[in-house]
């Protein structure tokens, strides 16, 4: 095989390129885990923290479909509290009042860009507006 050298070089180059993200990450310093600001308006979330950490999008999509498609705006959480299902009104407005110090921290770390903010208008960071009844 006359082309053996060429082929092996090509393969090596390909492997190097394809694994570049992996060894670049290994080579650089680890990013610090995100520091999240504590919520202001409430000490207990509408759902358990472990669930929210893993699946808050599931809850938000459920809320979204209940409000938009079913016209139901009230959610009864595990403590029996009636909560208005609203991202900007309750999640942000009542508790996580500064999106940049909470939501964005993990999103930036994980490099996800949720499209919610294209439409949902974040109220200016300040005291909680009280979306929890």
């Amino acid at each position: 095989m006359r082309d053996r050298v060429l082929i092996l070089c090509g393969l090596g180059l390909f492997l190097a390129v394809v694994t570049w993200p992996a060894w670049r990450t290994l080579a650089s310093a680890p990013a610090p885990p995100p520091e999240l600001a504590r919520p202001v308006g409430s000490t207990r979330c509408v759902a358990p923290v472990e669930f929210m950490r893993a699946s808050h999008m599931t809850l938000l999509v459920q809320w979204r479909d209940r409000v938009v498609r079913d016209g139901v705006r009230t959610y009864v959480d595990r403590d029996g509290r009636e909560v208005r299902m609203s991202l900007t009104g309750t999640c942000i407005g009542a508790c996580h009042t500064d999106k940049t110090k909470f939501c964005d921290r993990c999103h930036d770390y994980a490099k996800v860009t949720p499209t919610c903010w294209n439409c949902h208008v974040v109220p200016p960071a300040g005291p909680p507006a009280g979306g929890v009844r």
């Binding site: 938009v68 705006r73 208008v121």
Partner: protein
């Protein structure tokens, strides 16, 4: 017949009757509960001079509707058309003087038989039980089939990102993103908290009367009982729920 079988048949029979009666009662009850929302709009009261935009400004402010200068990309939920345009009247000269050129607020008619709902391929737009034709902006794929289907030109498409054209958006209501269709939603978010639609509340002449068209005692039904009204393009079978008192 085996006595056990007889008992069973008797129980099955009475269960069937009870279910049917219950279903019938349930139907009647939900019919009674179901509202049919609509409006009566007094065309003559709409202020012709000084370019009143109270309803338009209230609606567009409440819903973060963008103000796009390029008329091709205009987004509007409610606006005013001259009477002749709104009701496709050809000969202006013979129109009653009081109606000639009279501005008429036009917006989504929330039809009882909406063609826009019929054509939407993803059910991103649908008619609620109370008659409000609404849009799920998360599901809309922006195909604009509904825009083609609407016989009234009520729907607008976001040709560009609307955010730069909403200088100070309210957080109480989202904006939309580029690539989706929007229109008047009969202020369903205000109705949900017991408020009137923004346009109805804002009109300085109280030209718009909003209510339940199924309730014979409602304000809107009383207006329609006393005064003659027109609907836009009734021959198309869309059954629009905006009644224009002329």
């Amino acid at each position: 017949m085996n006595p056990g079988r007889r008992v069973f048949l008797r129980m099955a029979g009475s269960a069937a009757v009870a279910t049917a009666a219950g279903a019938a009662l349930g139907c009647v009850a939900s019919e009674a509960r179901r509202r049919r929302l609509g409006m009566a709009i007094d065309v003559q009261k709409c202020v012709a001079d000084n370019g009143c935009r109270a309803c338009i400004d209230a609606c567009h402010r409440a819903h973060n509707v963008p103000a796009i200068p390029d008329v091709r990309h205009e987004v509007k939920w409610i606006w005013k058309e001259p009477f002749e345009r709104a009701f496709a009247v050809e000969d202006r000269d013979t129109v009653t003087a009081s109606l000639r050129g009279q501005p008429v607020p036009v917006f989504c008619n929330h039809c009882d038989n909406p063609p826009c709902v019929r054509v939407c391929p993803t059910q991103a737009t649908w008619a609620r039980d109370d008659g409000v034709v609404t849009i799920d902006e998360h599901r809309c794929i922006g195909c604009r089939y509904c825009v083609a289907a609407c016989p009234y030109g009520s729907r607008s498409f976001n040709w560009v990102d609307p955010r730069p054209f909403v200088p100070a958006p309210l957080s109480a209501y989202p904006t939309r993103t580029r690539g989706v269709v929007e229109k008047c939603n009969l202020c369903e978010e205000r109705l949900a908290v017991g408020q009137l639609p923004a346009c109805v509340e804002a009109c300085p002449e109280r030209a718009m009367v909003f209510g339940d068209l199924r309730d014979p005692a409602s304000n809107v039904r009383r207006v329609l009982a006393e005064q003659y009204s027109l609907r836009r393009k009734p021959e198309l079978g869309t059954r629009p729920q905006l009644y224009y008192v002329i």
